[in-house]
């Protein structure tokens, strides 16, 4: 990997592979830094996001604080990317679930499998009367 995460001039800079990290997850992550930091996202190259945060306050962060912050940002990016995967993968089933929740059972699925016994029983024969 040509880009190395770094701390430079009171700014924390993290790089993220665009094939692994979604743009949405990066913005959702940076949202939580917005009260205390200037945040920025750009492309380092066509396959790499450059994500940076810089304290709004003019007080310089200590070395330790900077390192903690770097670690936190790295972890948060991973967490938010995983959350984003869940959100996107489950969007359809979630929509279906909520549509069903506010319906009256008219969209119920058919049950899995059958209920026959070795002699032969068909629950659907009951349907017609």
């Amino acid at each position: 990997m040509p880009f190395q995460n770094e701390i430079k001039d009171n700014e924390i800079i993290v790089f993220a592979d665009t094939s692994l990290f979604s743009k949405d997850s990066i913005f959702k992550c940076l949202y939580w830094y917005g009260d205390k930091f200037h945040t920025n996202v750009s492309f380092a190259d066509s396959n790499t996001f450059r994500v940076s945060v810089k304290p709004i306050s003019t007080n310089r962060l200590s070395q330790q604080e900077q390192e903690n912050l770097l670690l936190k940002l790295e972890r948060d990016l991973v967490d938010f990317n995983l959350r984003d995967i869940v959100t996107k993968e489950t969007q359809n089933v979630r929509d279906l679930l909520i549509a069903k929740a506010f319906s009256n059972g008219e969209f119920d699925e058919l049950p899995p499998g059958d209920v026959s016994d070795p002699v032969g029983f068909n629950v659907n024969q009951l349907k017609n009367d």
Partner: protein, 379 residues
């Protein structure tokens, strides 16, 4: 407890169902006269027939007869029996018992590892139905509770609803308790039909053995049974049916038992009763005992946590088929004397126990396989 006997039939062509009495004055067209020894003269009124222990019997008016019956001691005036053309006399209803059950069918679509009454793969539904149709009007109107079991009663299909409907009409004051695996009710039309009966005295007892499908399906030996049962319970709740969840305690159900309790509270909070039941040593159980046996004493923790959790959340919980001495005392208040009179027994040492009167004891057949921790209380 003797529930069937046999003698030599005369004139009987089809199944007859009638009450029995030893008192000729009580006879009517729906009753049999019991003859333990010889009597001087048969009553002249219209009645169904004669059940006799006599070795010889002379038919006078073409009446239905079974004679040469080894014993009639198990029959009380008012009991209801079926009499077959083969001379078989089955007790269908015992007037002095609180545990009368109609066997709907011996067919079943599950094949539980611990089934106490293994299914048979023959179509016995029409014959049972015909007998019950005759039996139900004869049952005393003050009958407190009547069970319906199987096999799987819903395999009766339409006849299941006909049977319930007849009971509702004939026995409006009787509580009805149906044992079903609930799978058929996964199909909404089944639950809907039951809902249409609007039967408030009906309670369905439905088994559930795990919160995870594979464990439940393995225990009942049927694919998709778990999903069907849960969907069935939900469909039944949609039509406001009264529901009981029944959990048999054994080596396969214990590991996820506390999870099952949480699952029931979260997903089935509408059930009226949750019962935890000790294993019966009969039917398939002896064959599968290696897979099933765990000493009740050794699942105290799991049972206690499950029971106390559900009770703590306001659900009605019972423990069945478990003697008090193998339960921690804090669970005694949940223990019920659940075993039907005719299959209930105690160990010899129990006669010395000071809690005997409060204890449900054992199934007769569990005398052969019981907890190692049964000890009489000596107060």
């Amino acid at each position: 407890m003797l529930l069937r006997t046999k003698g030599k039939p005369i004139n009987i062509e089809t199944h007859l169902v009638g009450k029995v009495t030893r008192n000729p004055d009580q006879l009517d067209e729906n009753s049999f006269l019991l003859i333990d020894s010889s009597i001087s003269e048969l009553p002249s009124k219209n009645y169904m027939g004669v059940l006799s222990r006599q070795d010889e019997y002379e038919v006078k008016n073409g009446e239905y007869v079974v004679f040469k019956i080894p014993t009639l001691d198990h029959l009380t005036d008012g009991d209801i029996v079926s009499v077959g053309n083969d001379g078989n006399i089955n007790t269908l209803y015992r007037v002095n018992s609180f545990h009368n059950t109609l066997l709907a069918t011996e067919r079943c679509n599950s094949n539980c590892l611990m089934c106490s009454q293994p299914p048979r793969d023959k179509n016995d539904i029409p014959i049972h139905y015909q007998i019950h149709k005759k039996l139900i009007p004869l049952i005393p109107k003050d009958c407190f509770e009547l069970g319906i079991s199987g096999g799987e009663p819903t395999l009766m299909g339409d006849l299941f609803f006909d049977l319930l409907s007849q009971i509702k009409t004939e026995l409006p004051a009787t509580e009805i308790h149906v044992l079903t695996n609930g799978r058929s009710f996964a199909w909404n039309q089944m639950a809907e039909k039951l809902g249409e009966l609007d039967y408030r005295r009906l309670m369905l007892g439905i088994p559930l053995y795990a919160d995870y499908y594979q464990v439940h399906d393995y225990i009942v030996q049927a694919e998709n049974a778990f999903y069907q049962t849960i969907l069935g319970l939900h469909n039944l709740a949609r039509y406001n049916q009264r529901l009981e969840v029944r959990i048999v305690l054994h080596k396969q159900s214990i590991p996820r038992l506390t999870r099952l309790a949480k699952y029931i509270y979260k997903n089935l909070p509408f059930v009226e009763h949750v019962t935890f039941m000790g294993l019966e040593y009969i039917g398939y159980t002896p064959h599968n005992i290696q897979k099933l046996w765990i000493d009740p004493y050794d699942y105290h923790d799991e049972l206690g946590e499950a029971v106390e959790f559900l009770a703590g959340q306001g659900m009605h919980v019972s423990i069945y088929n478990t003697p008090l001495c193998v339960l921690p005392e804090r669970l005694w208040k949940f223990a019920r004397k659940s075993i039907s009179d005719w299959k209930n027994d105690y160990l010899p040492e129990c006669s010395r126990c000071s809690k005997l009167n409060d204890c449900g004891g054992l199934f007769t057949w569990n005398l052969k396989k019981h907890s190692e921790h049964i000890r009489p209380f000596t107060a």
